[in-house]
């Protein structure tokens, strides 16, 4: 996360780290149910075998395992069948854990949006992750406040790519606060006005280069677009269909 700050334990209890030997942390991920995690499809390029991965939850400092930490193996990875590597569209996957997590103050699922429920442009939301900070990779979870950007405004930043309805943009024109490599698959969450619960609207997906020159907003997988597909994958895997 560029332009963010160190987060505190328990502030983002749905954030998880998708890890694979020997690299360790590869991507972010988001807890949406006791056995279910979301991340982006491009994290599995060339490594979509479930047994290569594990998911670490309830952690703040990657280098300091804590008592609140829980680690799970991956039972299955379902990458969206329309994910295309070239244009990074349909960049989402559902990950089934090998056993349920224990819900604690530090490990809790985020809410999924209702079908059609989109964040309003110019509202402020949060991105989190252990990705590149512009000058180094952090150990402690970083958080950054970003503004939702309309698709038309976002398209003007990306001549070479088309911003599709499966994408969501957030950040700032100058890219002052942005996600970066290693944040992929992590959450873009907005606090709901009533009740103060947090809803997952985006998964960090792509953007312009971020660790040498900051340019333009970040692009996120639009979770609202995929809500029916997510529920269906959970149903099919739960009942072995």
């Amino acid at each position: 996360i560029l332009g963010g700050r160190v987060s505190r334990p328990g502030r983002w209890p749905w954030q998880c780290s998708l890890q694979s030997d020997p690299s360790g942390h590869i991507c972010g991920c988001v807890l949406i149910g006791k056995k279910w995690v979301l991340t982006v499809a491009h994290c599995f390029e060339g490594r979509n075998s479930a047994d290569l991965w594990e998911v670490v939850l309830g952690i703040n400092n990657l280098d300091h395992p804590s008592v609140t930490m829980q680690t799970r193996g991956v039972a299955s990875v379902t990458v969206h069948p329309r994910y295309t590597r070239a244009v990074v569209d349909y960049d989402i996957s559902v990950v089934e854990l090998d056993r349920e997590v224990e819900i604690t103050g530090y490990v809790r699922p985020v809410c999924l949006p209702e079908p059609g429920q989109l964040p309003v442009a110019d509202t402020y939301c949060y991105i989190t992750g252990w990705g590149h900070m512009g000058n180094r990779m952090p150990f402690k979870l970083q958080e950054g406040e970003v503004r939702i950007i309309s698709v038309s405004q976002c398209q003007s930043h990306f001549d070479m790519k088309t911003i599709t309805s499966r994408m969501l943009c957030a950040g700032y024109e100058a890219g002052t606060v942005d996600s970066c490599m290693g944040d992929s698959g992590g959450p873009l969450v907005c606090e709901e006005a009533r009740g103060g619960s947090w809803t997952l609207y985006g998964l960090t997906s792509w953007g312009s280069v971020c660790f040498s020159k900051v340019l333009g907003p970040g692009v996120y997988a639009n979770v609202t677009h995929f809500t029916p597909w997510i529920h269906r994958q959970i149903y099919l895997h739960t009942f072995h269909l």
């Binding site: 502030r11 329309r82 070239a86 070479m160 619960s197 947090w198 280069v209 020159k213 072995h240």
Partner: protein, 364 residues
């Protein structure tokens, strides 16, 4: 070095650079087709090049027509030619670099950007008799595959082709914008174009879903799966997968009128007889619907004088042995109606989500 699985790790004495095919879409029309890394911009892989700032900068700069061979020069930097014998990269000639920089650097200045710092032309050899360096052939393509070539010869980014705005100097980017001219399929009733591969692929793309209509011809006693396979009606929503995409078991259970449990068995709506209904079945139903946990359950008498014969499904006597099955697989038809004539009414409630108790504020 590129350490591919199984390859012996190279030691410092021998050079392990090797040629690899060009996969960067931007440079797929070069007079050479293999490259080697690191390139002249400090990128270590083609993947890094494809997400690099330069891979966005150069195609945008080419649109300004500042230099005829700019795209060719950019590709010799992004994906340098690999010599098949020495496995070494072949540099662009210094003159090609100088011409590109002299003609185009000022254009970048206008928009407050700078020429890529890694591209110092002095690092490249002067073109001469026995020097190996790259110069463009006269007929080299000035546009990349990521561009649309205007009739006038200029290049505009392919995202500008048929986007409703005149971008070419001769407006040719907005000619022949019909779907057919572009080798695409026109969604009936709209101007939207989709690729032919998207027709009948199980994903609706046209606003009125025409691309997924008339995709299969099933018999009267069959139904079409989401992937347009035909499955016998009696197999629909029986708890076992018959369509290869399992779509015969999608959306089988619903709470109609807000709470009345309904099952779409053999593609017809059935009520569930409340005899033998249990709390575990309520739990299973809410979970299967993705609605969390049961909030309330009621057994509703069937209103008298209901038109036509109501269809009932009954809880299978050995449903407990069918663990792992969806609700529709735990129910069965019987030759008799529901003795209690009571239906199941269920209200589910979402489990806690999006809360963060540990981030609580502590009053001081």
């Amino acid at each position: 070095c590129i350490s591919t699985p199984g390859a012996t790790l190279c030691d410092t004495r021998n050079n392990c650079s090797r040629c690899e095919p060009i996969t960067l879409e931007l440079c797929m029309n070069l007079p050479y087709n293999s490259t080697t890394y690191p390139n002249y911009l400090g990128h270590s892989t083609q993947r890094e090049s494809s997400g690099s700032w330069e891979a966005s900068l150069f195609p945008a700069l080419v649109q300004t027509n500042c230099y005829k061979y700019l795209m060719f020069f950019a590709c010799t930097m992004l994906v340098p030619k690999c010599d098949a014998h020495t496995h070494q990269r072949v540099p662009p000639c210094r003159s090609l670099c100088r011409n590109s920089k002299e003609r185009c650097e000022s254009v970048l200045g206008v928009v407050g950007l700078v020429w890529p710092e890694d591209s110092d032309c002095n690092q490249f050899p002067e073109d001469g008799h026995n020097v190996t360096c790259l110069l463009p052939d006269p007929d080299v393509d000035e546009c990349s595959p990521s561009h649309f070539k205007c009739r006038s010869g200029r290049c505009v980014l392919s995202s500008k082709h048929c986007d409703g705005h005149m971008d070419c100097d001769d407006d040719s980017d907005e000619d022949n914008c019909g779907c057919v001219e572009r080798g695409l399929w026109a969604c009936p009733g709209t101007r939207q174009c989709i690729k032919h591969t998207m027709i009948c692929d199980g994903f609706p793309d046209c606003p009125l879903l025409e691309d997924e209509r008339n995709c299969s011809v099933c018999n009267d006693n069959e139904l079409s799966c989401n992937n347009h396979q035909c499955v016998h009606r009696t197999l629909w929503c029986d708890g076992k997968k018959h369509c290869s995409d399992s779509s015969d078991e999608w959306d089988c259970v619903s709470l109609s009128e807000g709470s009345i449990l309904t099952v779409f068995r053999t593609a017809v709506d059935y009520q569930v007889c409340a005899d033998d209904w249990t709390a575990e079945l309520s739990q299973l139903t809410c979970s299967q619907l993705g609605l969390g946990v049961p909030a309330s359950v009621a057994l509703i008498p069937d209103p008298p004088g209901v038109p036509g014969r109501r269809r009932w499904l009954h809880v299978h006597p050995d449903w407990r042995q069918r663990n792992g099955s969806a609700l529709q697989g735990l129910l069965e038809k019987r030759g008799h109606a529901c003795y209690s004539r009571k239906r199941v009414s269920l209200q589910c409630t979402k489990e806690d989500c999006g809360l963060r108790p540990a981030a609580r504020v502590y009053k001081r």
